[in-house]
């Protein structure tokens, strides 16, 4: 999806953005960010940061403002990600919006079987769904956690599924540096070697900040591997205000900005020019119960302001998705998802993780909600298209043809455009009551179930060179053997 006509929504005035920027540089200079990673700390110290290695819980790094601004300036304003099928290449940045499915849930849910632990079969199903729908541009990463596969080797099964069941761009594993290296090697098999892969980046990897103000070791190990392989990185502070940042939105935006810019600075010091995305995952806690809350008005405002900050720094922006705290794909699920989708698209977000399938505060991937979210994605894409004001758009001949009190169903202008004039719902029911009742009185959830089952039935694997497939299989088998042997020795 690209080149929308509708303008982007500036929630804060420019002086507001400047205030956040100034405060951010002060936080980076005076309070600093902790990095639980010796090599990262060495690099930052050499670049001129002030380092306290004995700080608790991890070495604390204070950034001179000049360094931050100089380094983030090295990151590309937009970049292309290359898919196995060139038709699925995507641009991150500018006016482009790339949508990816839900990421991370240990559980799945559908109408037939209810909520349960996700398996590799579920994982493969969600990759197939992501491949099937044109609204999704990136097949995702942890579309759900395949709990039935051993922890130490499941990243190989996941990457194998992403590379073989889909020919779209995808996301790398960030559980460890070793896992990240496996992902790079597997992608290199498909993309013609590590050097070629570096020139045609294929996977985007999600580096979360353990907010407040802490980068952990595993994430940083992965960041090093991907930055050196020149694969794009998504630096995202994980913030639920009230728990992981102040209850004030202004302060939360400052903290998020400081964390994101610190991570991006590190990526550019490791490998200047590495493609990065400025990430935002900023919602709030429910302060009465302490639980995370999604689709809140505050998170909507924060999303719009976060996108403005990314624009100020000329960096691609990640945020939003179909976020909700609801346990089932019900009314709450969809109004909270809508409350997040609106600002996501009004902000011109460049990468939307969790665009389809997110449920239960990210603890469940829902088959039905996946379809419901696709409906929202489709509507948002039409909304972003703008309003045509050319001759056909203004439809003067229709006025000439149809007089006062007439109707337009048979007008020549109508006959030229009626099939694609308006958005046709994927899921929404617009029949009258009697017809709806006669057709089984299905709720949205029931209709969504029929749709995802149809998509899975009709899924066709994208073609793959037999030699490449064999090399992938061989790599996965060999690494499983090595890892299992190492585990047994432990």
């Amino acid at each position: 999806m690209s080149i929308p006509n509708a303008p982007l929504y500036d929630y804060l005035p420019n002086e507001g953005i400047e205030t956040i920027h100034e405060m951010t540089l002060r936080v980076l200079e005076e309070f600093g960010i902790a990095f639980n990673h010796d090599q990262a700390v060495d690099i930052l110290e050499r670049a001129g940061c002030q380092v306290d290695r004995d700080a608790i819980p991890a070495p604390l790094v204070k950034f001179p403002r000049g360094l931050v601004l100089e380094q983030i300036g090295k990151a590309p304003r937009e970049f292309t990600m290359y898919a196995r099928n060139p038709q699925n290449n995507v641009v991150l940045g500018g006016k482009h919006t790339v949508l990816a499915p839900v990421y991370g849930p240990p559980n799945v849910q559908d109408l037939d079987k209810g909520r349960r632990e996700a398996t590799l079969e579920d994982y493969r199903n969600f990759v197939k769904l992501a491949q099937s729908v044109p609204e999704i541009h990136n097949a995702g990463g942890v579309v759900c956690e395949p709990n039935d596969e051993p922890q130490a080797t499941r990243h190989l099964d996941m990457m194998h599924a992403l590379l073989t069941l889909s020919d779209k761009t995808f996301m790398g594993n960030v559980v460890s540096g070793e896992n990240a290296n496996d992902c790079v090697e597997l992608a290199a098999i498909v993309f013609g070697g590590r050097d070629k892969l570096a020139q045609t980046p294929a996977m985007l990897s999600l580096i979360n900040v353990n907010s407040p103000r802490l980068f952990d070791t595993r994430m940083l190990d992965s960041l090093f591997v991907y930055a050196r392989a020149r694969q794009p990185l998504l630096i995202t502070p994980f913030i639920l205000a009230g728990a992981m940042s102040p209850v004030a939105l202004g302060g939360s935006l400052v903290q998020q900005n400081a964390e994101a810019l610190a991570g991006i600075t590190l990526t550019q010091l490791i490998n200047p020019g590495t493609p990065v995305v400025y990430g935002s995952f900023l919602s709030n806690s429910d302060m009465q119960s302490g639980s995370p809350a999604f689709g809140t008005p505050e998170s909507a405002a924060a999303l719009l302001a976060s996108a403005q900050l990314a624009r100020k720094y000329k960096l691609p922006f990640r945020g939003g998705g179909g976020l909700t705290s609801s346990k089932v794909a019900d009314g709450q699920a969809m109004w909270e998802a809508s409350m997040t989708f609106w600002p996501t698209f009004l902000a011109g977000t460049n990468f939307v993780l969790h665009a389809a399938g997110w449920l239960e505060s990210g603890l469940t991937s829902s088959y039905e909600k996946f379809v419901m979210d696709i409906e929202l994605c489709r509507m948002m894409q039409v909304f972003r298209g703008g309003i045509a004001l050319d001759e056909e758009g203004l439809a003067l001949d229709a006025f000439a043809e149809i007089g006062p009190g007439g109707y337009f169903f048979g007008a020549a202008h109508t006959l030229r455009h009626f099939r694609d004039a308006f958005y046709r719902p994927l899921l929404a029911d617009v029949q009258n009551y009697t017809r709806w009742e006669q057709k089984g009185a299905e709720t949205a959830e029931m209709r969504a179930q029929r749709v995802w089952k149809k998509w899975l039935r009709e899924y066709a694997p994208p073609p793959m060179d037999a030699g490449v497939l064999e090399a992938l299989n061989e790599y996965v088998a060999r690494r499983k053997q090595e890892i299992n042997a190492a585990e047994a020795a432990y």
Binding site: N36, P57, V142, L214, D216, A243, S285, S289, G290, S291
Partner: protein
């Protein structure tokens, strides 16, 4: 201040979550040689209104249930209680009150998330448990050593990531290898951890939230054969009631 005034002030300031004030009042009461049990229960003169620590926590729990109080307010009340108990615990023990129990807590290796675990710690300390917090990214070896050195009644493993949940089982295997598994009760929790997952990992129990953690710990200590009774157990019950409505964090 008279002892009655101190008891009233303890109640008021615990409800309001004024940690330093409650600690100071406790010290002042001890200087006047007041009975620690009176400070816990509020003393004899019930007609004087809310007095003492436990009735204060009951009031906090009531206010939380009707939606007047939020999590941060409840946390501060528990912290105020925790501060007072730190001073009162040795005196209560000297009076023959049974200590409630000792708990080793930590976030498993590879995981640095600790907000949920810290909430559990505060609630359990407020309830009179002695909590030894090993922090985050705790290796199996460190858990084993802490269990050896401290001989706790319970050890609690916290995991926030699907990728670190398997460390719960690894930790238990290491406890087995060290011959410690039958000497300590094991509980586990964290956002992605379910009762089923805790069970197949080999724990003795699972707690979905901070209040359930305190409740579970109490069950464990009770099931040891030596069912604890007395003032500190009442303290647990008070915190437990106060927290009973809190959602998983």
């Amino acid at each position: 201040m008279t002892p009655d005034e101190i008891l009233q002030q303890m109640y008021d300031n615990t409800v309001l979550g004024k940690v330093a004030d409650v600690t100071n009042l406790t010290k002042e009461g001890l200087a006047l040689e007041m009975d620690p049990l009176d400070m816990l229960y509020g003393g004899e003169n019930k007609e004087l209104g809310g007095r003492g620590l436990l009735p204060a926590l009951q009031e906090v729990g009531r206010r939380f249930e009707v939606g007047d109080f939020f999590v941060p307010e409840m946390l501060m009340s528990a912290k105020a209680m925790q501060g007072a108990l730190t001073l009162l615990r040795p005196l209560l023990a000297a009076k023959g009150e049974k200590t409630v129990g000792k708990i080793v807590m930590g976030t498993v290796k590879g995981d640095v998330h600790d907000i949920g675990k810290n909430l559990c710690n505060i609630m359990m300390e407020g309830a009179g448990f002695e909590v030894i917090d090993l922090g985050v990214n705790v290796s199996p070896e460190k858990f084993v050593k802490a269990v050896q050195d401290n001989q706790p009644d319970v050890v609690g493993f916290s995991a926030f990531l699907t990728t670190t949940m398997p460390m719960i089982k690894v930790n238990i295997e290491q406890l087995k290898k060290a011959g410690l598994r039958d000497k300590v009760k094991v509980m586990a929790g964290g956002a992605p951890v379910t009762a089923h997952y805790a069970e197949i990992s080999g724990t003795d129990g699972y707690a979905p939230d901070a209040s359930a953690t305190a409740r579970l710990a109490k069950q464990f200590v009770g099931s040891d054969g030596a069912v604890p009774t007395g003032a500190l157990v009442d303290a647990i019950a008070a915190v437990e009631n106060m927290m009973s409505v809190v959602e998983p964090t």
